[in-house]
Symmetry: C2
């Protein structure tokens, strides 16, 4: 009898990835594709099905050996009903999309859905920076700030599956406007979007900066993590200042989370930390430690970079598939 | 055979209380005493023993029918070792006090310890405003702000038993100085201490206020909740302003907690809400709702006053005793 496997899918605004894994999370095969969200939901759904089938081929196995598929998607979504409610990243055709029903029908096996940051937290907990720990908080810093909570060894979703909105914790009442309409959210102070806005404001106010030149050289229209890294490499003062502030705000957020949830590990993921590493994470950790109520937490709480990086979500989705499959079987 | 009972003890800076309950939390007897912390730890420990024995008498039963005693105490403390690490409220003789060992020896039954706000959350969850709910966050607003978390139906303590330090969540980076040495903690913005400080600052800056007169009339040296209530009753503008700000800050904190933990119920306890009720809680709720990321939470999250009031801690301690006794028996 052929070995049973699990599939994890990471659906993003630009690209999608599928991996086939053993029950322990060892990757047997994978496939990456562009999402092409502009083609609409049904085209994207077909591409997901093809990507899963290609990954299964790549693993040298067959769909009938797939026990379950897990999928991490931008939200908001409902893991229980398997419906994506709406995702600004993927456009209007994704409103109230019963993605789980569709994929179960097309793939002929159980499919489980959760949001991209939750599966990322599951991945880091099972196979990455939080292996073996009881409580882990994952914070993914990109254009937004997303969070995932592992509490008492399990993904914590809340009663309406809307927990872990760490990016929308207000840490500066009446601070800068956030994309969500509120003011002073961590996301409005420490995300890449916030960094970009502050650098643009600085330049508009007449500050010198190498950023426009670097963006032109790299052919970029947005201030990507690699643009920021290049500016820091060349000691661009404005970028240094703005990044130091952003790291400090993220450190305050980490301090709050530690004081609230008393975890062993805080995993920081996303493009900025992947690109800048300790240069960014060091100041985040330093600020966080100043905010710990229990100073012994300095030695006990690990604030570390994601280990799985781009694979956190897709591996977490495969682990989720296994966990959900096993828990459904028990019932 | 006589009915088996549990005892809960609430140890406070000014007074202590013990109740004897059935396994369902029905009160069979109780006793209250002054703490007299100035007499030192061993005198207070003896008073606790007497208070427990008196409550047992009051319940018409005997110590041999007591299955376990739960005690809620100011912290920091270690519930696992049963040691109070230090409590500013009770003075220097309470450093590293093995209260559980002492009481087990003196009372001849298992004794369980947790901090006063955690047992308060257990009480509200089992018998108060959060009956039957899965996730509850309790916020007690007094001279400080303490929190307790019930997640997935159980008290959430964290890995080092230091979770739920809600009062030290920073909501205003670089804001006013907190007793903990950091700036901008919720406690520095929304506790009774913060309210008192701001009213004093207002008066010192030449603002008119009825507060000094009311304090004199009531023979008070501190700005108690009843002083604040009397000032509001008489439309004291400074008090109105400061209370509105404090309620708003607490509302921001509630919003953060809802976005982070997605609970069904937020229970607000402590002197201010007990005294002012909806007059205070209404504005807290209104602000919190503005900060919910998921606007449907407005209809789904209850932000309510403590139902058990002074009895939240002592009943929670009795429930804790039952839970710990039963879980120890299982092992």
């Amino acid at each position: 009898m052929a070995k049973k496997v699990y599939v994890g899918v990471d659906l993003g605004g630009t690209s999608m990835m599928a991996v086939v894994t053993t029950s322990k999370g060892k990757i047997l095969g994978e496939k990456k594709r562009k999402t092409r969200a502009e083609e609409g939901a049904s085209a994207v759904l077909e591409r997901i099905v093809r990507t899963v089938r290609d990954a299964v081929d790549d693993a040298g196995t067959k769909m009938k050996n797939v026990r379950a598929v897990g999928i991490g998607s931008p939200g908001p979504l409902n893991p229980k009903t398997g419906v994506i409610l709406h995702t600004p990243n993927l456009g209007p055709t994704w409103n109230n999309l019963p993605i789980v029903d569709y994929l179960q029908e097309a793939l002929g096996c159980p499919v489980y859905l959760d949001n991209d940051v939750n599966v990322g937290a599951v991945g880091e907990h099972a196979l990455g920076a939080g292996r073996g720990c009881k409580n882990l908080v994952a914070i993914f810093v990109g254009t937004g700030i997303g969070g995932g909570l592992i509490l008492n060894g399990k993904l914590y979703q809340g009663v309406r599956y809307t927990a872990a909105e760490i990016g929308h914790a207000v840490i500066q009442v009446d601070g800068p406007l956030c994309g969500c309409g509120k003011r002073g959210c961590a996301e409005a102070l420490a995300s890449r979007t916030a960094i970009e806005r502050r650098i643009q404001e600085g330049i508009a106010a007449g500050r010198q900066s190498l950023i426009p030149e670097i963006m032109q050289q790299e052919g970029r229209v947005d201030m990507s993590s690699s643009v920021l890294a290049a500016a820091l490499e060349r000691d661009d003062e404005l970028t240094q200042e703005v990044m130091a502030d952003a790291a400090r705000y993220l450190g305050v957020l980490v301090g709050n989370v530690v004081n609230m949830l008393d975890p062993e590990v805080i995993v920081i993921g996303g493009g900025i930390v992947e690109r800048l590493g300790e240069r960014y994470l060091g100041p985040v950790r330093e600020t966080a430690e100043q905010y710990y109520l229990n100073q012994e937490d300095k030695d006990k709480v690990r604030v570390v970079a994601s280990e799985l990086k781009d694979y956190a979500g897709v591996l977490g989705a495969a682990i989720l598939a296994k966990q959900m499959y096993k828990s459904a079987k028990k019932k």
